[in-house]
């Protein structure tokens, strides 16, 4: 468990971490914005 946590912390503080986290943010934003465009969402 501790090793897994260390590896996770290693990823989020490594050189590719900014790209991974920014990518996650873009996906979250894009997902919610796209949902706002769906007709069912609007007409619900």
């Amino acid at each position: 468990m501790k090793a897994k946590l260390s590896r996770l912390l290693g990823v989020v503080s490594g050189p590719v971490a900014p790209m991974i986290l920014t990518g996650a943010l873009v996906i979250a934003f894009g997902g919610f914005a796209f949902m706002a465009l769906l007709p069912n969402h609007h007409n619900g």
Binding site: V12, F29, F32, A36, H42
Partner: protein, 513 residues
């Protein structure tokens, strides 16, 4: 796709008219500038001209792309200034799932496009505030929204503070020259095309009761938007902005008093970061002040562009706080910081998801209204003879889907006559104009009891606008037994959208029926 916020269709109609060579106008019979953003309208007109005719889809794509630019640029700026990877994520995640960011991005309005320009300008300022990209982006912000002036004034204040502190001398004039040139050029164009410096929406917001809040109401509205929806970044960001501004003001005063340069880092990168921090802090405080004294906007639309900037400045406060915690708790500092970070993310996302639910409900209602307005607009386009003028107080989608018809907007957003009459404190002048033109149709929002919004405004304008004398009787009662309801759409929330053929005799009535 489609069914966007009604005001965006006003911009779409201006863009289509511009692309078709009719000018940046809403109606063919008069020149009124009621588009909410000059640059955004130009962009839509250009895209329409090259073949992208579905402006609902085009505007949604621009909003989506602008939103992605905001996310990447904000994370990058916050990461570069704080030298942290996780903190920008903590500050940005609630924004990315919030309804205010995602809903307005696809609303068809210029909100997200403007916010992207602002954050790109701040990113470019890291390499220098007077580089060509910075100055170009500042000019673009200025011609996108009137609020761009706050950014320009903040930039001038930063340059001025550096000059007073004896740190740098070259930027002030360039920055001032860009702003003055853009404002003069835009004002000149506006006077030449429309005969007025102030755009019609700004004129309207000065007199319409809908947009007018007292200072106490504005304070509650601004507080509720920022603290209830984005509490973490708003409180942290505003505190940071106040501290940075005060510290800089003290440093400038001391430097001016002593007659020597202010203490500053020798590292150019650190100095550039300090400059951007001051710029963002001034922009945050200036924007907050403008929201307190400025007009009301639906669901904080005017406040959305500040959110990414608040996220960046809040990250800088989080960074100082986390460094402090690690210093105080050498053994458990790292765990404490992660725990606090986790709590902030959970709390921030909880607020943002509540915002998402509320904005989804709002845009859902908007969408149902738009379906009704669209169908009325399409019916008008297909069935009403081209030369017949249509009365309304609900112009957006109705007018966009009836592109070949002219409208009289009794609310004064897209027609000049009502505001002219209000400025002269003589609503009778507008009533005379109506009697002369005799619009033969009204397409408008109505109420279940049969009343129509535009008839109410024509009759009792003092209930809608400031500055008109109180009058007990109706100025003009257009409810007339000869009127004929031709089309009617009822939405689930009780609004009724009607198209009514107005009997010519209605304009001859003198007494309240």
């Amino acid at each position: 796709m489609g069914n966007q916020y009604d005001d965006s269709y006003i911009t779409f109609r201006h863009a289509v008219n511009l692309a078709l060579g009719k000018g940046l106008v809403f109606n063919s019979y008069e020149r009124v500038n009621s588009a909410s953003s000059f640059l955004y309208t130009l962009l839509l007109a250009g895209l329409y001209r090259v073949g992208f005719h579905d402006l609902e889809a085009v505007s949604a794509i621009i909003g989506l792309l602008s939103g992605c630019v905001i996310v990447v640029a904000t994370a990058r700026l916050a990461g570069a200034l704080s030298r942290s990877v996780l903190l920008p994520f903590i500050a940005m995640l609630p924004l990315c799932v919030s309804g205010s960011m995602t809903g307005w991005a696809v609303s068809g309005m210029e909100t997200t496009f403007y916010a992207a320009l602002v954050i790109l300008y701040l990113v470019s300022c890291r390499s220098g505030m007077t580089t060509t990209p910075s100055l170009v982006l500042l000019a673009l912000c200025l011609i996108t929204r009137p609020e761009g002036i706050i950014l320009w004034i903040s930039a001038i204040a930063v340059e001025l503070s550096e000059r007073v502190s004896g740190l740098r001398h070259s930027g002030l004039l360039k920055c001032a020259a860009v702003g003055v040139s853009v404002v003069l050029l835009q004002s000149g164009l506006s006077v030449w095309c429309y005969g007025s410096i102030v755009p019609q929406p700004l004129e309207l917001k000065r007199v319409a009761l809908y947009y007018h809040l007292t200072f106490a109401q504005s304070f509650r509205y601004v507080r509720d938007f920022f603290v209830s929806r984005f509490g973490v970044i708003s409180v942290a960001g505003t505190c940071f902005a106040v501290v940075v501004t005060l510290r800089n003001a003290v440093q400038c005063s001391l430097s001016w008093w002593n007659g020597g340069p202010a203490p500053s880092s020798a590292d150019p990168e650190k100095r550039s970061a300090e400059r951007v921090c001051l710029l963002m802090s001034l922009f945050v405080l200036g924007s907050m002040a403008s929201y307190l004294v400025g007009p009301y906007s639906d669901f904080g639309r005017y406040m959305v562009p500040l959110l990414p900037v608040l996220a960046v400045v809040s990250v800088l406060l989080f960074k100082s706080a986390s460094d402090g915690i690690r210093g105080l708790l050498p053994e458990h500092g790292r765990s404490a910081v992660y725990l606090i970070g986790l709590l902030l993310v959970v709390f921030g996302c909880h607020q943002a998801l509540a915002d998402q639910r509320e904005l989804s409900a709002f845009f859902g209602r908007t969408a149902r209204h738009q379906e009704a307005r669209k169908s009325l607009g399409m019916w008008i386009e297909d069935n009403v003879p081209k030369g017949e003028v249509i009365l309304s107080s609900d112009l957006g989608a109705i007018a966009y889907f009836a592109m070949n018809h002219d409208f009289i907007d009794v609310f004064g957003l897209t027609s000049a006559a009502p505001l002219t009459a209000i400025k002269q404190r003589n609503w009778g002048a507008f009533v005379d104009e109506l009697k002369r033109r005799k619009p033969s149709w009204v397409a408008d929002t109505g109420f279940p009891d049969g009343r129509l919004q535009s008839f109410e405004i024509v009759g009792f304008p003092q209930h809608w606008f400031r500055g008109l004398p109180f009058r007990e009787s109706s100025y003009l009662n257009l409810y007339f037994s000869g009127n004929q309801v031709v089309q009617q759409r009822t939405t689930t929330d009780g609004y009724v959208f009607r198209l009514v053929k107005i009997a010519a005799a209605a304009y001859e009535q003198r007494e309240l029926e």
